[in-house]
């Protein structure tokens, strides 16, 4: 098992790591870790110590069967995750973020595209183990052909974690008749003095939007690609230009 200390921003080629890796994030300045080339099966653990701000950007475009991410977040520390998931075929992604001390924060943004016969299950859970913690999950998906996409996950606020905030938002756009999208955002709350919300939207691309765009001369394919890009676009801010171009190219291929 790899144990890596992180003190500065860097790219990590995951294919060079063992199947299980632990990262201890110690940086004083805000840092950005970009993970590429995920292995078919891997477990990644992050310890984000007090007062650290970690941006974790993950781009997957190969096949990943199983990915498990766990993170422990310290006092006044923050993990901001951008996950661009363009993996293929069967895939199970589990993320579990523990907000262990006061003022710990997790913001999670994920965009996922499924096509062909892909079958993806993505579960993101946040545990609010201390007061004044903040959690936000945004999962966006585009589901095409005969693929399946499931978003699930739990925001768990344990008793005593007062004045904590937890929001979950799951949206899936279903493109084709054989595609199945499903979203189950769950809240488990054992404390009264908190703020929490969850929302889920699963639906097809709007006919009115398609008519509007095509009536201006865009072909049906161009219109769909522009709308898809728009749906997955919020994730792009987490990546540098080179990866943004790769993401654009994948969406272009899949229109």
């Amino acid at each position: 098992m790899n144990k890596v200390e992180i003190r500065e921003s860097k790219y990590i080629d995951c294919s060079l790591l063992d199947n299980e890796s632990e990262f201890l994030v110690l940086a004083k300045e805000p840092i950005k870790l970009t993970l590429l080339n995920l292995k078919e099966e891997c477990k990644l653990h992050f310890d984000v110590i007090d007062n650290v701000f970690l941006q974790l950007s993950i781009f997957s475009n190969n096949q990943i069967k199983s990915l498990k991410i766990t993170a422990n977040i310290g006092e006044n520390a923050k993990i901001l995750t951008y996950f661009a998931d363009f993996s293929k075929e069967q895939c199970k992604i589990d993320a579990e973020i523990n907000l262990n001390k006061e003022q710990a924060t997790c913001e999670w943004h994920l965009a996922s595209l499924t096509s062909g016969l892909d079958n993806k299950q993505i579960a993101v859970s946040i545990y609010h183990n201390s007061p004044l913690t903040f959690g936000k999950i945004d999962n966006y998906g585009v589901c095409k052909d005969n693929s399946r996409l499931l978003f699930s996950g739990t925001s768990h606020i344990i008793k005593g974690s007062h004045k904590s905030t937890s929001h979950q938002n799951a949206k899936i756009m279903v493109f084709d008749q054989g595609a199945i999208g499903s979203a189950k955002p769950i809240l488990k709350i054992d404390e009264n003095d908190i703020e929490a919300s969850h929302a889920a939207v699963v639906g097809k691309i709007s006919d009115e939007h398609l008519f509007y765009l095509t009536s201006r001369g865009l072909s049906m394919d161009e219109a769909k690609s522009l709308i898809t890009l728009g749906y997955l676009k919020p994730i792009l801010v987490g990546f540098d230009e080179d990866i943004q171009k790769q993401i654009d190219a994948i969406i272009e291929e899949n229109k």
Partner: protein, 272 residues
């Protein structure tokens, strides 16, 4: 000179016949006012001409420049030179207005415009409709006010330079200053020879743009096609004279029409 010819057009929306044999033609350089009571098919005609998939043509045909466009897709009709400014333009989250406009400009031209040329075009069009430039860089119509959406429609028309532009209640939701701006653009485009088919319930817009012809749609048909004095007459006396002079009884809006208000499409509400 381009001419849009509609011959015996019958259109159904979700199984209900709305247009029952429309005959009309509009040429480049003409500005035609389309009048008629709510729920008689004005918006349906415009949507059917543009090729909205919900509006099914069951009989008749549409020609542009003697080319049959009845079975073309909306994008093919746009490339042929038609444009429809929608009554309620959709908000499309995530699609950046300027990306969309550039894709549209490139789709409707033989040669692709360079980034530099496009921004010059956009900059001058934005100034013409007096729209803040930042609206061009935001998500398409998302969070725009009613007036901003309508100006964005006119902006698209300026960039796409259609042969015939159809405007569906372009003045609803506009304040006095914005109506003046939109009317000025229409007048100036009119002089360049663009053809217009304009729906409005307010004589004020027609006073400003001065149509060259007026047509009246009742019961899904064009019953009058004539001079602009019709506009004034209808504004002052309503549609009663059509019954007394032409012997056409105006079908009452069916009882479930009471949800219809200004700014909504009467036909869409009627078939809910």
């Amino acid at each position: 000179m381009a001419t849009l010819k509609i011959k015996n057009l019958h259109v159904e929306v979700e199984g209900k016949e709305i247009l029952k044999g429309v005959n009309v033609s509009i040429s480049e350089g003409e500005t035609v006012a389309l009048l008629g009571p709510n729920g008689h098919g004005k918006s349906t005609l415009l949507n059917a001409i543009m090729g909205h998939p919900r509006y099914k043509i069951t009989q008749g045909s549409i020609y542009l420049d003697d080319i049959d466009i009845t079975n073309l897709t909306p994008d093919e009709r746009a490339r042929a030179g038609l444009f429809l400014a929608l009554q309620n333009p959709a908000e499309v989250p995530g699609v950046i207005n300027s990306d969309f406009l550039r894709a549209a400009v490139n789709a409707t031209r033989e040669e692709k415009v360079s980034t530099y040329k496009f921004y010059k075009m956009l900059d001058s069009a934005v100034k013409e409709v007096k729209m803040p430039f930042d609206l061009a860089t935001r998500s398409l119509n998302e969070g725009f006010s009613g007036g901003e959406k309508k100006r964005n429609e006119i902006l698209q028309m300026l960039l796409l330079e259609p042969k015939i532009a159809m405007l569906d209640e372009i003045d609803s939701g506009l304040d006095v200053d914005a109506i003046q701006i939109v009317a000025d653009v229409i007048k100036q485009e009119k002089e360049k020879g663009r053809g217009f088919l304009v729906i409005s319930h307010y004589a004020r817009l027609f006073d400003l743009i001065q149509p060259t012809r007026a047509i009246v749609m009742i019961n899904g048909k064009i019953v009058l096609d004539g001079g602009v004095d019709l506009i004034k007459r209808i504004d002052q006396t309503g549609y009663e004279f059509i019954k007394t002079e032409l012997g056409i009884s105006i079908e009452k809006e069916s009882s479930n029409m009471n949800e219809v208000s200004i700014g909504s499409c009467a036909v869409k509400d009627a078939i809910k």
